[in-house]
């Protein structure tokens, strides 16, 4: 067991314990209080050891402490999940080892624990800044392990050496990243607890307890004229018409590509270009009533009877298209009896309280408008709240939401209202999309994932589909000024804002910086985080023209060859090989001497070298070497023309005499 001495240990242990601390910080939520205490103790012990001489703890005390910690962990394991118990276990193990760091093995164990922790951190956080942060930690850790074997060289030199070696690993990492085939999950991984917004083809309001809001870009819109007011910017994307009591989903006929029905529009048109980011669905975005003028990318865009825009395949790449929207045109088209039935569909026997409430507040002679008014009255009168952390509502979610908790976010409100309207015999549907967006300048609007929204449309005989946004009743700011203004402070933690610079939001320079960072972050998202089987396939198709087993194999071999070439470039003594071709008398002499066991130090001159080995030589040998050297210097520095033959003769004599 290699022991560490106090001198060797100082800097590496300081580095590793600091890295450990920094690696633990992002996981702060999952770490139990008593582990924090242990953590603080471990850090204290390391610092004390580095700056002072401290007697080692006796091993009995430590073993007892370890057993005590394990018992505590087991005791608390039930309350925490498996993953967080594992993280706590790692932190405890790391802390205990930090306290007793005596041998190389102890040190290496801490390093391994640290790498584990970083990996756990990456499961929770993958943004670019986190990646950079963790890379810093990993570098410090590996540098610490380098220091253990550094010998007697300066810190500067060792930093240079270690960075060089680690930097060499980066190209190989990238090549491997591109080459190694992506596998599907080997078994079901535990899902992370929160869900993030963005759109999906079904919505189950009651299931999501934490709505983590992503600041990723959804799309940009460039208007040719004035941008509509915030309360008019309802970007339609998905229309949900089927409700099973818990989940809203869409019927199959929605994405029928056969008929894009012509629609009659009137009023002024608003023209804009949309640059939509890939979104893993087939649905695109537009304001009502949209007519697609042009698609810049080559895939066709269709529109169905619910005014949704969609493509034939999932949007893996950016889509660019120009749309004319007729904001003031009514959304009316003829409704068949079949469609009427679809928009009145109800799950049987669920949410009885809501049923009772609708029955008591609506009567047959009321108009659609009057029924709506009666149904949304509770939102005005009672104490409803808008929150991103609603309680779980799993049995009869609408009942629970309306009569028990009265807390929720947009899809809770939209779901409840649609359901009530249908109970009141008014055809209704839920629409999901984005609302609002942030003005970049006079005609560019960026819409982010946290702008995702859900609202309701109901059918009025004669005037068609009419939009009603129940969330706007509870949190009017949500529609007027965006999400950030309508939530309380606790909720705002959930929002992953893209590099907000607090009070500087309005300073143009910061805005530019922010936009630049957003762009980089976006690149990181696209090229690293979303790199998958399909990206690999696209890459191979681009390179070889087609994706098949043969091309895949060629691709992998090419990458492996590239890695081998790279390693060869670093390690093969090609300089010596290349040098052999030019005649250098000094080099040949040195090579001859090397073969006979006299090694020249890299920084020695020929003269110094010969002087250095003089004691080991007899007179004759020395005389020959001296003569050789004289002639070499005469040729090299005095410019005398001495023929190669002469050197070769002398070299022969040297060879004969050694």
């Amino acid at each position: 067991m290699r022991k560490l001495n106090a001198f060797q240990m100082r800097l590496p242990s300081l580095l590793v314990s600091l890295s450990f601390a920094f690696a633990v910080l992002p996981l702060a939520d999952t770490i139990m209080a008593w582990v924090w205490v242990l953590f603080a103790c471990a850090q204290g012990v390391v610092f004390a050891k580095v700056f002072k001489r401290v007697p080692e703890l006796n091993s009995l005390t430590l073993n007892l402490l370890a057993i005590f910690c394990m018992l505590l962990l087991i005791f608390f394991a039930g309350q925490f999940g498996l993953l967080s118990t594992m993280i706590n276990l790692l932190v405890v193990a790391g802390c205990l080892k930090l306290i007793t760091m005596r041998t190389f093995a102890d040190f290496h164990l801490v390093v391994i624990v640290l790498i584990f922790l970083v990996a756990c951190g990456f499961i929770y956080h993958q943004a670019l800044l986190y990646a950079l942060y963790y890379s810093g930690i990993l570098f410090a850790t590996l540098f610490g392990t380098y220091l253990l074997n550094k010998g007697k060289i300066s810190r500067k030199q060792s930093i240079r050496q270690a960075s060089k070696m680690l930097a060499q690993a980066i190209p190989i990492t990238i090549l491997l990243f591109v080459m190694v085939p992506r596998l599907p999950p080997l078994w079901d991984a535990a899902e992370a607890k929160s869900s993030s917004t963005g759109l999906s083809e079904s919505i189950t309001p009651g299931d999501i307890a934490n709505l983590a809001q992503s600041g990723d870009l959804a799309f940009r819109a460039e208007f040719s004229g004035a941008i509509p007011e915030a309360q008019d910017r309802y970007w339609r994307s998905i229309v949900l018409d089927y409700f099973d009591g818990k989940t809203w989903s869409m019927g199959d006929e929605m994405s029928n590509t056969d008929n894009t029905p012509p629609i009659a529009v009137s009023g002024p048109a608003t023209r804009y270009l949309i640059i939509a980011e890939p979104n893993e669905t087939r649905w695109l975005y537009a304001l009502d009533v949209p007519i697609v003028q042009e698609t810049v990318t080559d895939k066709p865009i269709f529109r169905n009877q619910s005014y949704q825009l969609f493509t034939q395949e999932v949007n893996k790449k950016q889509s660019l298209y120009i749309v004319d929207s007729y904001l003031s045109a009514p959304l009316n088209h003829f409704m068949t009896e079949y469609e009427r039935q679809r928009y009145l569909q109800l799950p049987s026997e669920s949410n009885p309280q809501t049923r009772a409430f609708v029955e008591s507040s609506v009567s047959d002679e009321m108009s659609e408008q009057a029924r709506l008014k009666a149904l949304i009255a509770p939102f005005f009168e009672q104490d409803f709240a808008y929150t991103l952390r609603p309680p779980l509502m799993q049995d009869n979610p609408v009942d629970q939401f309306l009569f028990e908790y009265q807390r929720g976010f947009c899809s809770h409100y939209a779901s409840a209202l649609t359901y009530m309207l249908r109970l009141a015999n008014v055809p209704a549907r839920m629409v999901a999309g984005y609302q609002g967006g942030e003005l970049q300048n006079d005609n560019i609007l960026t819409v982010r994932q946290y702008d995702a929204h859900a609202w309701v449309e109901y059918w009025i005989e004669g005037s068609g589909w009419t939009r009603i946004d129940p969330t706007a009743i509870i949190a009017p700011n949500r529609t007027l000024a965006g999400l950030l203004s309508s939530i309380d402070e606790q909720d705002s933690e959930l929002i992953d804002r893209p590099f907000t610079l607090g009070g500087f939001r309005d300073v143009p320079v910061f805005k530019q910086i922010r936009d630049f960072m957003v762009l980089i972050d976006h690149q990181w998202n696209q090229s690293v985080l979303r790199f998958d089987q399909d990206s690999q396939r696209d890459l191979i198709t681009n390179l070889f023209g087609a994706f098949n087993a043969k091309n895949m194999t060629t691709f992998m071999f090419l990458i492996l060859a590239a890695i081998a070439l790279f390693i060869g470039a670093i390690f093969l003594p090609y300089r010596r090989w290349l040098g052999r071709e030019v005649f250098n008398p000094a080099q040949s002499l040195i090579r001859v001497l090397e073969k006979r066991g006299f090694e020249k130090h890299r920084k020695e001159t020929l003269q110094q070298f010969i002087k250095c080995i003089q004691p080991d030589l007899n007179e004759k040998q020395y005389a020959f070497l001296h003569a050789f050297m004289k002639r070499y210097y005469a040729k090299a520095y005095e410019g005398k023309a001495i023929h190669k033959k002469e050197f070769n003769k002398l070299l022969k004599a040297v060879k004969a005499n050694f």
């Binding site: 290699r2 190389f104 093995a105 290496h108 164990l109 390093v111 391994i112 790498i115 584990f116 970083v118 990996a119 990456f122 499961i123 993958q126 990646a131 990993l138 590996l142 392990t145 380098y146 253990l148 074997n149 550094k150 010998g151 007697k152 060289i153 300066s154 030199q157 060792s158 050496q161 270690a162 070696m165 680690l166 060499q168 690993a169 980066i170 190989i172 990492t173 491997l176 990243f177 190694v180 992506r182 596998l183 599907p184 999950p185 080997l186 078994w187 991984a189 690293v528 985080l529 790199f531 998958d532 890695i563 390693i567 670093i570 390690f571 066991g597 090694e599 130090h601 890299r602 920084k603």
Partner: protein, 340 residues
């Protein structure tokens, strides 16, 4: 239980013997070795194995969570492991080790194994661990050096002319992921003289017959030439005191003899009995040194080996060498190699 342990030990011993036999063929004894393909071993250290397991674990974790960053980490450590393999090997093989000759010494004294590491300087610094006879030292290397000396104190050895056991030279450069090592055997031998044991001197004068040796001895010590008179020292024998001067009231003075000066004789092993041959050799070891200090010419008779009377340091060394190797299988002319 005992039998199991003993059989395990026996197995281990045979394995060790096999290994050494194989090593003798693969890496013959050499005083200067350049580390290269033929004498260098490389294998992941325990940390290296842990890292390999880590890479696999990260790969599974990354695949299961479909997390590209974790996968990237896994690839990064794969790359580090791969590069580290070459760096370790190149670092190790840029070095050369030179073993210096052992200084002969006596039993129950520690002998130093001195060696020198030198490098071609592609990588600065680094640290070597040299292990000989289960004793290790760490040799940290400097940024700029030509030769780094290292010295290990070997455990006490019995008298004899020993072959040095294999010396393990290893390093964990750069991140401790790989262990690069070599088992080297210095050609130099370790010469251990018998330790000294004081005993009365028995010296046979040349041409004297064996049966008279005791009488001869007495005569020898008494017939020394008187060189002069000097002040008495407590250790002087009483019979050397010049009583004439005492009687004259001039205080205690000692007759100073030119002891043994100009004399020569034979030391014989047979004089000291054969009950404990080691003991006898130790006595001879003392006497040989003593006589040499007094610059008396003497010969050494060990039965089958005889060294003709002579004096001086080379003679002493010859005698001590014979005493050290007494009773051991005869050696070739390596004896001179050891001193060369």
């Amino acid at each position: 239980m005992k039998s199991i342990i003993s059989s395990i030990n026996r197995l281990r011993n045979t394995a060790l013997i096999r290994r050494n036999h194989w090593l003798d063929k693969r890496i013959p004894a050499e005083n200067t070795s350049q580390f290269n393909m033929s004498n260098t071993f490389i294998f992941p250290s325990s940390f290296g194995w842990a890292m390999i397991a880590m890479v696999l674990f990260l790969f599974i974790l990354g695949t299961n969570y479909q997390n590209n960053v974790v996968l990237g980490m896994s690839y990064f450590f794969t790359a580090v492991l791969l590069l580290s393999l070459f760096h370790s090997y190149q670092y190790f093989t840029q070095h050369k080790i030179h073993f210096k000759a052992f200084e002969p010494d006596f039993e129950n004294r520690e002998i130093a194994l001195n060696c020198e590491l030198s490098s071609l300087q592609r990588y600065p610094g680094g640290e070597f661990i040299i292990t000989a006879y289960n004793r290790s030292i760490q040799v940290p290397l400097k940024e700029k050096f030509k030769k780094a000396p290292a010295s290990i104190m070997l455990p006490k050895m019995q008298r004899g002319y020993h072959v040095c056991k294999r010396v393990k030279v290893e390093c964990f450069f750069a991140f401790g992921l790989y262990r690069c090592w070599s088992y080297l055997q210095p050609k130099h031998r370790i010469l251990v003289y018998p330790s000294v044991l004081k005993a009365p001197l028995k010296l046979h004068q040349i041409n004297e017959d064996d049966d008279n040796d005791l009488a001869q001895h007495t005569r020898l010590t008494q017939s020394d030439n008187l060189q002069g008179i000097r002040n008495y020292v407590e250790t002087d024998p009483m019979h050397h005191v010049s009583w004439k001067h005492v009687a004259k009231g001039q205080g205690l003075l000692t007759k100073d003899f030119a002891e043994h000066a100009g004399l020569m004789g034979w030391l014989k092993l047979s004089d000291y009995g054969s009950a404990d041959i080691e003991q006898s050799l130790r006595i001879l070891s003392y006497q040989v040194q003593h006589l040499s200090q007094e610059q008396i010419e003497f010969g050494l008779d060990l039965g089958d080996t005889k060294i003709l009377p002579n004096s001086g340091i080379p003679h002493l060394e010859k005698c001590l060498f014979q005493l050290a190797t007494y009773g051991q299988p005869k050696l070739d002319r390596r004896a001179s190699d050891a001193k060369a």
